[in-house]
């Protein structure tokens, strides 16, 4: 046993898979200890992008510092969009009589092109062939940029609660900064928010945890049923074998995913708790474990060590447990790992077609995908709502499969290259 474990941990594939899995596992274990908020709490709004959000009024109230920095360049680059820069480029090339084309092509950076445009732009220049709307667009763009350049800062005023008059509270200059740490109200969404305005990272950790639980439960149920029936059918044989083989074959003819869909929809929206879904998944995926355990048991039951055990007067359960089970154990462990992975994938598939766990108390990886798709996250460019979920599913399933391959190479040395 100890020797086998040593052998297993010598396999690079297994160790890689194990490390990835352990990392995921430690994350879902320790993250909730550090971030104690409810993963389903709706803190933000629809698809806020990743980042730290600070309260604007807090920023006004917070003590400010003068910092000598060219704020205009930064602001210009940030607030003049790529399309607007393209508009400027178009104007310079098409309507401007004075500018040389090399000058335009030399201006690569956002600030350079803005500067060049400001230098030459004149609203009185005749724009031949341009519609009124296009002309107005340029005027508005000029005003906007002008405002940024001229900005003297802001006067902040507040309505007096008694008199109803506006009173000046603060004057903010352009070079005034506040320290983000001083602002009491800050929210960080490292992976943005989802369609319900929940913090995606916290939700993802909770979902991974639930999905792993589902996979573990589904894998355990499937392996337990498959192992028990496989051993029984293989060792006892006869009528019991016929019945079990018949059931297994039935499951083979009807794809288990179809059965899964039927049961899941039969349970109804209200009846599908996460753990029940896991049990249902496990209940539909045992046949292949059963079939291979049965095949291995049949090849073992006529071995002489089993015969010797019989001659020693051992009972049937004892023979199955001590003379058959240890010989199939390594295989069963590998099958178990695959069952966990496929349990997680099954849940995701089920949830994607709307038959996953219905409870709004937990998130699962599949449900997160489902929500992201329903609210068209890909269309709104909200990659953070689904890419991390896809990556989590891929990583867990990759690590489990890697572990399985590693084990396979240790236990079936003929497969080694």
């Amino acid at each position: 046993m100890k020797y086998q474990l040593q052998l297993v941990f010598k396999s690079q594939k297994f160790v890689t898979g194990f490390v990835i899995f352990a990392a995921v596992f430690l994350l879902i274990l320790f993250y909730p200890l550090l971030v104690t908020k409810n993963p389903l709490e709706m803190t933000g709004g629809l698809f806020y992008k990743p980042g730290t959000y600070v309260s604007v009024t807090d920023a006004v109230d917070t003590q400010s510092y003068k910092i000598n920095k060219d704020v205009v360049t930064g602001k210009l680059t940030k607030s003049v969009t790529a399309e607007e820069q393209q508009l400027m480029r178009d104007w310079l090339l098409n309507y401007c009589p004075e500018v040389k084309p090399e000058e335009v092509s030399d201006a690569k950076k956002a600030y350079d092109i803005i500067e060049l445009w400001l230098q030459y732009y004149d609203k009185t220049v005749e724009m031949e062939g341009a519609t009124k709307a296009v002309k107005n667009q340029y005027v508005r763009l000029y005003d906007k940029v002008e405002n940024i350049l001229e900005s003297e800062g802001y006067i902040v005023s507040r309505k007096n609660a008694e008199t109803g008059e506006m009173e000046e509270v603060a004057a903010i200059e352009t070079k005034e900064f506040v320290n983000v740490k001083d602002i009491p109200n800050r929210v960080t969404f490292p992976l943005g928010t989802d369609n319900f305005g929940r913090d995606v990272l916290t939700e993802l950790v909770a979902a991974t945890r639930t999905s792993l639980k589902i996979g573990l439960l589904a894998g355990t149920v499937a392996t337990a049923i498959g192992l028990t029936l496989g051993l029984l059918a293989g060792y006892v044989g006869g009528m019991i074998d016929n019945v079990i083989t018949f059931i297994t074959n039935m499951f083979t003819v009807i794809p288990s995913f179809i059965i899964l869909i039927l049961i899941a929809s039969g349970l109804g929206q209200a009846g599908r708790g996460a753990m029940l879904v896991a049990v249902v998944i496990g209940f539909t995926s045992w046949p292949w474990t059963c079939r291979s355990v049965r095949a291995q048991t049949i090849s073992l039951r006529n071995r002489d060590h089993v015969n010797l055990s019989k001659l020693s007067g051992h009972s049937l359960p004892r023979i199955v447990l001590t003379d058959i089970l240890p010989y199939v154990a390594s295989y069963v462990v590998m099958a178990y790992i695959l069952q966990i992975a496929s349990g997680i994938l099954s849940e995701a598939q089920l949830s994607m077609i709307g038959l996953g766990p219905s409870t709004n108390k937990v998130a699962t990886l599949g449900l997160m995908m489902n929500w992201a798709m329903q609210f068209q996250a890909p269309l709104s460019g909200a990659w953070w709502a689904f890419i991390p979920v896809v990556l989590s599913i891929a990583m867990i399933s990759f690590s489990l499969n890697l572990m399985n391959t590693g084990l396979d190479q240790v236990f079936n040395p003929q497969l080694r290259e």
Binding site: D304, H305, N307, S312, G313, L316, T322, P326, Y327
Partner: protein, 270 residues
């Protein structure tokens, strides 16, 4: 050698067919036999003649396709698990391939302790059990102190076979079916091992059914010899008769294949 006329284990028309249709193999074909109490019987035949199959049927590990087996003067009845277990109290075996005879997950101690438990000495204090195990190992020239806590795959093939004999020593069955018990043992120790079996037979008045492909060995140990060819007994008689006046062609061929059969018997050459 102790031998009575009582038929201890007998068979009439015992047949074993493996597979169906095209793949049908008749491994044992309508054989009759009578083994007497205290006798050493050899079943001799070349590879694939059905010796192991017959042995498994005698042991009740394989079902009998046709025919009857008699045990202790009555038709053998091992239909229920309980009756089977009772049957196995009296009949034991040493299997042909020592490497597959052991559960590789159990220590050697487990195997030997099982035998002691089976003798009904489960409640013996542990040092008494160790004493018994040491004695059994000593009987086959093994040192229990060296074997204890070891796993079967840490032993050599010959050590495994000797351990199997030690197991028989502990169990003291009334019938032993030994399927080529010395196949892994070098020629010198082979004689020793056979002598051990013979000594054991004398000690506990055991009936031994000795399976071998080596007619010389059969002659050396047995009272009567059955010659098996393609699942059929082509000749059965006392050892002397079979060797000195063989009737079947097959027997003659077997004898011819053994060099120096009529000369002074030298075990180290077989």
């Amino acid at each position: 050698m102790a031998k009575s006329n009582e038929i201890f284990l007998g068979g009439k028309g015992v047949t074993k067919v493996y597979g169906f249709g095209d793949k049908k193999t008749v491994a044992v074909n309508k054989v009759d036999f009578e083994f007497h109490k205290g006798e050493i019987v050899s079943i001799v035949g070349e590879s694939g003649s059905g010796k192991t199959t017959l042995a498994k049927m005698l042991l009740g590990l394989h079902s009998v396709t046709a025919g009857e087996i008699y045990y202790n003067g009555e038709l053998r009845d091992i239909r229920s698990p309980r009756k089977k277990r009772a049957y196995w109290k009296g009949i034991q075996a040493i299997f042909q391939d020592p490497f597959s005879s052991f559960n590789v997950f159990n220590r050697i101690d487990t195997l030997l302790l099982d035998c002691i438990n089976m003798r009904g000495q489960k409640n013996l204090p542990y040092d008494k059990k160790v004493e018994l195990m040491t004695q059994a190992c000593g009987f086959v020239n093994l040192k229990f102190a060296e074997l204890t806590r070891k796993y079967p795959f840490e032993l050599s093939g010959g050590q495994m076979q000797r351990l199997m004999i030690a197991r028989i020593f502990l169990l003291k069955p009334r019938i032993l079916i030994a399927d080529e018990p010395t196949s892994m043992i070098d020629a010198c120790s082979r004689a020793t091992i056979l002598d051990m079996l013979l000594k054991l037979r004398d000690e506990i008045d055991m009936t031994i059914i000795f399976i071998t492909h080596d007619i010389g060995l059969a002659y050396y140990v047995s009272d009567s010899v059955y010659i098996m060819e393609h699942g059929i007994f082509v000749e059965r008689n006392t050892a002397d008769e079979v060797i000195l006046h063989p009737k079947a062609d097959y027997t003659k061929r077997l004898i011819k294949d053994v060099p120096k059969i009529y000369e002074e018997w030298d075990l180290s050459t077989v």
